[in-house]
Symmetry: D5
Subunit: 147 residues, 10 copies
Amino acid sequence: MNRNDVTEMIVAAKIAKGIKWADVAVKIGLAKEWVTSACLGQMAFTAEQAAIVADTFALPPEAIPVLQAVPYKGSLPTAVPTDPLIYRFYELISVYGTTFKELIHEEFGDGIMSAIDFKMDLQREPHPAGDRVSITMSGKFLPYKTY
Amino acid sequence: MNRNDVTEMIVAAKIAKGIKWADVAVKIGLAKEWVTSACLGQMAFTAEQAAIVADTFALPPEAIPVLQAVPYKGSLPTAVPTDPLIYRFYELISVYGTTFKELIHEEFGDGIMSAIDFKMDLQREPHPAGDRVSITMSGKFLPYKTY
Amino acid sequence: MNRNDVTEMIVAAKIAKGIKWADVAVKIGLAKEWVTSACLGQMAFTAEQAAIVADTFALPPEAIPVLQAVPYKGSLPTAVPTDPLIYRFYELISVYGTTFKELIHEEFGDGIMSAIDFKMDLQREPHPAGDRVSITMSGKFLPYKTY
Amino acid sequence: MNRNDVTEMIVAAKIAKGIKWADVAVKIGLAKEWVTSACLGQMAFTAEQAAIVADTFALPPEAIPVLQAVPYKGSLPTAVPTDPLIYRFYELISVYGTTFKELIHEEFGDGIMSAIDFKMDLQREPHPAGDRVSITMSGKFLPYKTY
Amino acid sequence: MNRNDVTEMIVAAKIAKGIKWADVAVKIGLAKEWVTSACLGQMAFTAEQAAIVADTFALPPEAIPVLQAVPYKGSLPTAVPTDPLIYRFYELISVYGTTFKELIHEEFGDGIMSAIDFKMDLQREPHPAGDRVSITMSGKFLPYKTY
Amino acid sequence: MNRNDVTEMIVAAKIAKGIKWADVAVKIGLAKEWVTSACLGQMAFTAEQAAIVADTFALPPEAIPVLQAVPYKGSLPTAVPTDPLIYRFYELISVYGTTFKELIHEEFGDGIMSAIDFKMDLQREPHPAGDRVSITMSGKFLPYKTY
Amino acid sequence: MNRNDVTEMIVAAKIAKGIKWADVAVKIGLAKEWVTSACLGQMAFTAEQAAIVADTFALPPEAIPVLQAVPYKGSLPTAVPTDPLIYRFYELISVYGTTFKELIHEEFGDGIMSAIDFKMDLQREPHPAGDRVSITMSGKFLPYKTY
Amino acid sequence: MNRNDVTEMIVAAKIAKGIKWADVAVKIGLAKEWVTSACLGQMAFTAEQAAIVADTFALPPEAIPVLQAVPYKGSLPTAVPTDPLIYRFYELISVYGTTFKELIHEEFGDGIMSAIDFKMDLQREPHPAGDRVSITMSGKFLPYKTY
Amino acid sequence: MNRNDVTEMIVAAKIAKGIKWADVAVKIGLAKEWVTSACLGQMAFTAEQAAIVADTFALPPEAIPVLQAVPYKGSLPTAVPTDPLIYRFYELISVYGTTFKELIHEEFGDGIMSAIDFKMDLQREPHPAGDRVSITMSGKFLPYKTY
Amino acid sequence: MNRNDVTEMIVAAKIAKGIKWADVAVKIGLAKEWVTSACLGQMAFTAEQAAIVADTFALPPEAIPVLQAVPYKGSLPTAVPTDPLIYRFYELISVYGTTFKELIHEEFGDGIMSAIDFKMDLQREPHPAGDRVSITMSGKFLPYKTY
């Protein structure tokens, strides 16, 4: 049993039982963004978190240590994603990638926005012309240094 | 003279003259995110905007109609970006792509976050452990409908 | 049991039982284009639709919630399709892609034709020199806006 | 001077002079879809058509025979297009490719829709919730035969 | 049971029983080229043909409707084939592709040789310096038309 | 001046002067298939042939030794060709590749059809339902031997 | 049971029983290079050879006809090999490929070294500074001919 | 002026002047295999060698230090070579790659044949059925060691 | 049972039993870097080492000879790694690759750092601003030689 | 004039003038590893550093602001490097990538070694069996955190 097996079990149980990610996040006590990515095999759980997850999705006991091991990350089957929802994020990088680069360098100098010391929040933004998805990302700026 | 030629002229002039994107945005009267992406060849300018851009970067007159034509979009030379700053955004999609998908579907049902009816704001977020890059994205939710 | 498993069951049952997509569409009460794509794993069904599909193709009960979950979309095994029928559509984009772009921009300005707020209709067009396939696509124009 | 050179001249002249594809089509006396694709280097012109094109875009005389030669077709720089407008068409094939295949085979048997004996028409479809792009494609069905 | 499963059964039975493609073609009453490609999963059989194939290769009854469904075509595992015999055909296109294009256009004008309204014949051509493979291909010329 | 430069000069001169490949072949005294591929940079000419080619296309004297050097072969810009005429040949390999393999092995045993000791002939085949392209290929069978 | 299955059985039995390729070659009576490549699924055995192979590796009887069928060749899982030993051969082609081409053409004119009418011998070459791998390849020169 | 420029000058001069690689090798006093690969931009020359090369091919003085710098190696434009002569070597690795691996490991244990401490010799091997290309490669075996 | 199967068993047992690589290394008596890579299927064990590994991870007896066979190396599922930790090493090569090349050539002349006669040591480097990963690599310089 | 142009000027001047990277590093007062990567277009210089670089390599004045702009990083022309020296580093990641991952996670938990807060030192390590390249890398450990 590897992490992919466990992720497939979680996804199947979620669908079969009608569980919501937001509810799992409440049980774990962390943001729904972190908890969902962890359930989808991208983050490592602590022992207590793994026990809650196993209980929630009725996983076998062998799954519990697997949930605690650091996974091989990367959730997508192709380098350019085919799913339209995910592709739109890829398109944003394609269209705005050099803009991100220019504006971050203009404000901070040479360096990057960390994808590790990073958190995000995804919310519904009500709007008369149709509600919007609002995503706030926050990543530590890491400067290149000379040596 | 095509749009790539004009973009290279803009970038060269920006470096040579020490122009800031934020100042160009003020002249145009729009957000720095939109103005930068347009200067980098991803958006079409109006006639007045094009004239301001040409004046700011000392572009030849032939560049003005080129800035008004809709460009072939996509700002990156490779499908997986090599530049570390831009790669981190690609990595976020790789790691969080299925999380975006699950949470948006849980909140809104089947559909996507538009990358066209979209805006964003990039700011410095002061933090005692090191300042952070904060990006707020807002895209209209577009539902799949049956027919 | 994931969505791919269910799609394979549907395709196998369709062949074994000689079911027609057009008949399934009548049962569901929607266009054959939408119903076929949904049966092939590209759209999410409602509970009632899923029950009809399960009954039609004699699927096991566990398949019903799977049909209601939003699938990971993308129906083709390779980036450039190898099947001749599907390749011809890819070729049309290769040959006419820039034409689509120029004519839509000439008529509407900068923006795209939505692939989400989209419907289509595929019909036989009788013709003395050999019948033709007629496809009418209709997608909402989504304009890029400044901000 | 090859066809790519001529295409670049046409595009540059169109932008500089503010020429519309629809007007060129009227001069040529054919559909705007065919004329645009031919101007963009995907079709071969007759001698008279080439003369009109050269006159319209002020091309040098050497361009006239080049416009009459059959071009190496394919208008896009990458196998998966990066431009959002063109990508949506690629996405439609990704999502609906197997649907096209199933419905054409159900109606016509084994074979393809020709991309050669093909024509299309692109129109604005007025709609209270926002105008739509309407595209009607018509391609001859070509059956596979036994031998 | 999908078409790939049936193809693997056919190939395994052919090897185990020492069946020859030419003999299957005689039973079906069509050319060995068409029959072999159909047995290898590239063409759809009629009901009578499928029954003969099933009988010849001792396939289970469920295979019969599968043989009648139109398959997803494309017989090779990689875009550039690794098998030396098949690669030589790929090499011929690489070396002679532009020659095919020039000579067909010189003789027929703009258009293509159909790969659908197509037949071929593969024979041994005796030769004192070593026998040769002779392949005659015949495909209908399909002209591009203006509209 | 390399071979690509010379090929571009030949193609440009052919278009500008309205030269036919078949006429060049008559001047050289060889088949139009070989001569065309050689003019397109895929074969090496002898000194006399090179002189005729240079004279026919009004090439500069430096081109003559370049035409005699063995070129780096491969005439297509992408691994999967985008031009519809050339793609149809690629599709034939995709659909019939395993058929070629099975039938050649059935007739000859393990080995290949040579793409070097190879010739071909391309002709118009008149047909009441529309003329056809007829291509006859002849390649020496080369057996794998044990050692 | 296909050829890959048989190859995996051979490799597993070789490891489990500690069989040496050189000893299998002696039993077959051919060079170790040919015998190893055939056992690894790249060549077709005769009936007697297949019987010896089956006996040596304790294969089931169904494997014997499979060993006699001509396999789909190509032994590597990726176009650029990842295994360091095999990569070094790829690197030699990358670094020396144009050298092979120039020297063979200088000596023989236009043509190739056959990879079919080919044999090779791999030996240990004792050397005071560390023993060396010595590989002698011999392939028939096949000239391109005019026609 | 970079190394590619110099290589192109050498190749052009070789063709224009009818120089033979074997003669250049005699002037340099090294094997034709090493000298040819160095002239083709894959090896670094010493000062004296560079002077001889510059003199032989009538290179400008600036080329001399460029010939002495270590080049970025890799002589082929695509990962899978399109030129038939060079492809045959790639095919040998594809077909015999696992054989090389098995036989070297059987003889030497885990390790590789060096592509750096490597030399080769390419000769014509006369043969009544047609002369053959004979290539002898010798590379130091480098063992993996534990630590 | 092949090496991949054994590697998966080792990884599963490690997680289930909470074994540490550093402890396995102590049992084997070699560096943790070598032992971990060998356990992950990249190196061949001796008979004694294989017995210890089998005992440690409770592997079945058939696994022991498999651990002693030389594996097909390469531990990553994609050419550009998706896992963020491993990607950073890829990024270092992308950013510093030409720097490695220039500095090694400046110090040693033309040649490479061996990846075979190679060892490395990975340690925690305590640091007040956050501990660091320290990796020391040592590879024999292998010079290109003339011949 | 863009950064690539400046990098090519630097490399050409270095070769023509026989400048050593180590000497440039002394002038700048930083490590040779950082200075070389910056000269090769991977890092941004300060105004004073840029002036020293321009003086050392006799660059035109326009190059000075270009050297101060943050470059688009990535120094290699292909995703898998072809140059043997650089490939060996890629191979180390292929063979040891999962080992890096396991050992860093075992020591530090989930997170990465930073490639931004990173420095390295490359030295000659004298050794009786042949000198070695010694590279010490030090990157800050960045932990994934829950939120």
